[in-house]
Point group: D2
Chain length 310, copies 4
Amino acid sequence: MSETVDRAWMERVFEETKNWGRWGRDDERGALNLITDKRRAAAAALVRDGVPVSCARDFAVEPAVDNPHPALHMMTQAGDDCTAEAEGFESTTDFIGIAFHGMATTHLDALCHVAVSRKLYNGVDVTEVKSTGARRNDVMAARDGIVGRGVLLDIPRLRGVDWLELDVTLGPEDLEAAEREQGVRVEEGDILLVSKGRDARRREHGPWVPMDGMAGLGPTCVPWLHERDVAVLGSDGISDALPGTGIEDWFVPIHQCCLAGMGVHLLDNLLLEDLSAACAARDRWEFFFVVTPLRVHGGTGSPVNPVAIF
Amino acid sequence: MSETVDRAWMERVFEETKNWGRWGRDDERGALNLITDKRRAAAAALVRDGVPVSCARDFAVEPAVDNPHPALHMMTQAGDDCTAEAEGFESTTDFIGIAFHGMATTHLDALCHVAVSRKLYNGVDVTEVKSTGARRNDVMAARDGIVGRGVLLDIPRLRGVDWLELDVTLGPEDLEAAEREQGVRVEEGDILLVSKGRDARRREHGPWVPMDGMAGLGPTCVPWLHERDVAVLGSDGISDALPGTGIEDWFVPIHQCCLAGMGVHLLDNLLLEDLSAACAARDRWEFFFVVTPLRVHGGTGSPVNPVAIF
Amino acid sequence: MSETVDRAWMERVFEETKNWGRWGRDDERGALNLITDKRRAAAAALVRDGVPVSCARDFAVEPAVDNPHPALHMMTQAGDDCTAEAEGFESTTDFIGIAFHGMATTHLDALCHVAVSRKLYNGVDVTEVKSTGARRNDVMAARDGIVGRGVLLDIPRLRGVDWLELDVTLGPEDLEAAEREQGVRVEEGDILLVSKGRDARRREHGPWVPMDGMAGLGPTCVPWLHERDVAVLGSDGISDALPGTGIEDWFVPIHQCCLAGMGVHLLDNLLLEDLSAACAARDRWEFFFVVTPLRVHGGTGSPVNPVAIF
Amino acid sequence: MSETVDRAWMERVFEETKNWGRWGRDDERGALNLITDKRRAAAAALVRDGVPVSCARDFAVEPAVDNPHPALHMMTQAGDDCTAEAEGFESTTDFIGIAFHGMATTHLDALCHVAVSRKLYNGVDVTEVKSTGARRNDVMAARDGIVGRGVLLDIPRLRGVDWLELDVTLGPEDLEAAEREQGVRVEEGDILLVSKGRDARRREHGPWVPMDGMAGLGPTCVPWLHERDVAVLGSDGISDALPGTGIEDWFVPIHQCCLAGMGVHLLDNLLLEDLSAACAARDRWEFFFVVTPLRVHGGTGSPVNPVAIF
């Protein structure tokens, strides 16, 4: 690429790729509009074996350097004192609590999660996200679930390694190389998942501070994502490479351009190892994919357990 | 039915219908084992239009007489103060917390949620559910999602009413009448959903104290559920009729026999109005159905957003 | 009083009684400045018997019509599974969570809790209270505790009743009648507590919806509180009479004028029964009083357990 | 001391110093019984200047290696959206949540917090601490506050250092040396605070993992604490030296013998710098001391803001 990827370039790309107004001025669904009923039905036809594969990490209650705000899981009634008020009925119950936008939790980012120059997707002012909840672009846009064709691009497999090193930044050429190697092509309306082997590395070397580095997509992927018109993007990291680009005002361009510009929802911190194995076993990198966020009015996203079905 | 439905009858039915050991002594999945890959693939083939329909109520943050422990949704960073530590990147975030086993929240009951005579499914002692989390029969049994054929039986529609009155207890004859009327049959491995019109009534009359009454399945449904070998049971209430049977030790026999006896997971407090409309519009009462609980080790269930796909 | 207590009157009183600038333009302590070391030492000299009396209600975990957002108390490790990671040491632990500004919780209102025409005490704009915490007038103003002379005025006792009916609005004449009856006088820098018998009524009749009515101080008390220069005001309700005045823009003038105008911290939902009994037994209505809020940066108050020491 | 401090010694000391039955078989207050009204009144007489000094750290919302489970502070309504339902009344509110038994939070340990050989203070079985809350020995024993004479022993000052190194274990000889140096004597019913300079070290060197080491009292202090009959013990660490004794079954003997044996409540993670400065300025190491835990039924302790009054 002969272009200089600097602030001016980023600003131009953001403008050129943004989908504001594309699906109406009041639209809050963004690129989810690309997942038409027809595409959804076609995706369901990919199911052959009937095998479901979870792409979620376990609920992250353990503190770690990549989990400074652990999720809460507390029993409210356990087997030591479970005789309910009603006769003959023993019941155990619990509570969960989570600030899910951490680096240890599989979650969906709603379009209100990130603003660029204080504007959310479709030009909504970020102040519409109130202390009492988001009034626009909240997770309710995905209330009926995100259901469609998923495609996995497995970059470590492409490179013959278990994981990408922390300083790896991927470009469209890497994504296309994976397409060729895997015999799959990312199409309009797809849910694109990109594996970087994060969990394999974590298992081997232990957790690390994400800002110390994490492989991810670089800014040059933005035009490509727009050209391909992906509906949703996910990865086993946060899609963006960390510790960020160093370009002024464009710390994490994938988050900025996808959420605020293109209206592409993001899936962060997926667990892609089981999915990768399932794909490799079948040499098939497309699958029916279902993500069902909780219906939180005003929510900026949701913890989720995305499931691929083969 | 000429039989007397009393404590002795319940005890006999519980024994006769329990699936302990059926899938191995250490099994924790219970009737989820009935959802084979083959059945899952067949269920996916039901997708024609590609239309997804959520069966979850909105996250229940508003206190009400049927929601005494409201869910928590709190912003941790809103648009008034969203400039992140990193330059050029505005982010808004939130926290959710929930004791999800209430009457206002759509949730999955794990098999450790209910014990009978201090025994959980497969004979596990209820004390295995510790104050630190369940060691057995937790929600992780459904970690890859519950994916299969869903069948809706819409009892208000059968009766030509908007909702069932609070004191209605349904028997197998009602379920079979709905089957005939709708032209569908509940089969082995199905996810059976029974609508009682709860939300229509709530919208019209406002919330009520659930223990004052709620239509549901009576104890005579237990043998029927076992005979049909349903994999999962759900409703827009809690499946059981309230305020309970009045039979000593058998307060809510559906919960007791399904969870502790048969190993049938339950879906409580579904929103079935949209599903019912989608079914009626197509005159088709079977659909592909996906439930993806959060992967909480030791959890007694999970809030969920179940989705039917037509 | 021949004056008409209307909106114009309220506006004038607010202006005349506000202490903005009185202790400096950047002051955040408000009338706590009136509790000088000398007064604090004099208050300590009131201790004779050495008997402490809590003025807090129990942590309000039970839902009720006056507690729609119950506090959370959850064990994180109980005696059923308490062997810690370290040998020979069994430990049990718990978690508390609370949105403490409810009607069931004894709490301190920080000066940032209420604004009038979007201005907090000392003219601070209410937008200084961010979604990430209050930047000004937070509870840290009371970080070293509120320690001084407490005075209880017991209005039910004055009237020979167990509690005030829900529609009772008190004026300065009631407070002065209680002073005379009890032989005490509210002085500059005092922590004034006014009992209305709320808990006696609740015990007898059960909880009620606070907005249905609750005895309290009316707007005519504002000039009196200012004239007496109380440092802190508390009651077994929320000081204001409910359901509010009906005066446009002046729903709860005690909260509005005390917190935003005079800089007087408020103690809401005290339990005053034990204190009243302790005072009556000694026929002494002044006492050493200690309130120690948690040191929450950006906090709008704190749950507290105020203690009087006789 | 010529004795060998081993497991047998610890067991003997635990037996010899335990106060089970001393204040009745059903007593739950333990050594709080030593703080008589008379002593409380005498302590109040120590107040001369009227200066209060907080001994609490700030509410610990920031993750750190010594704070792996940060406290939650979330605004529920901030100044960006604070117009309440009622006219003319702008209100901001928040929520706090905390698992307070961490190493970063100033808290009171209730007597149910620690068991030895599965027995709590007064021989109560640890299983009385249920998943639904402690039925015995909960924090309600201190519901009226802990009010009495506080005495600070400042060990870094004694040694002419800013803080004690992490591997320092103190014995009774150190406590007595501090008594002599400071001209104070720990008496029956006192609230004894021991400073180790933890916060000075943390400020200089940053936080460290507590189990890597923390200065504290060693096991030989147990007989001394019993002989002096202290009512409550506190420190700027957790009183015990870490990483623990290495004696089998006696990981943290101060916690074990104080809470489970003697019935001495503990104050952990106090901030003692301001207190130390206040004492040194007056060359007076005794003061009136007030701790007011929240009234949590079944609670194993409480976050607190203890205040010394000079």
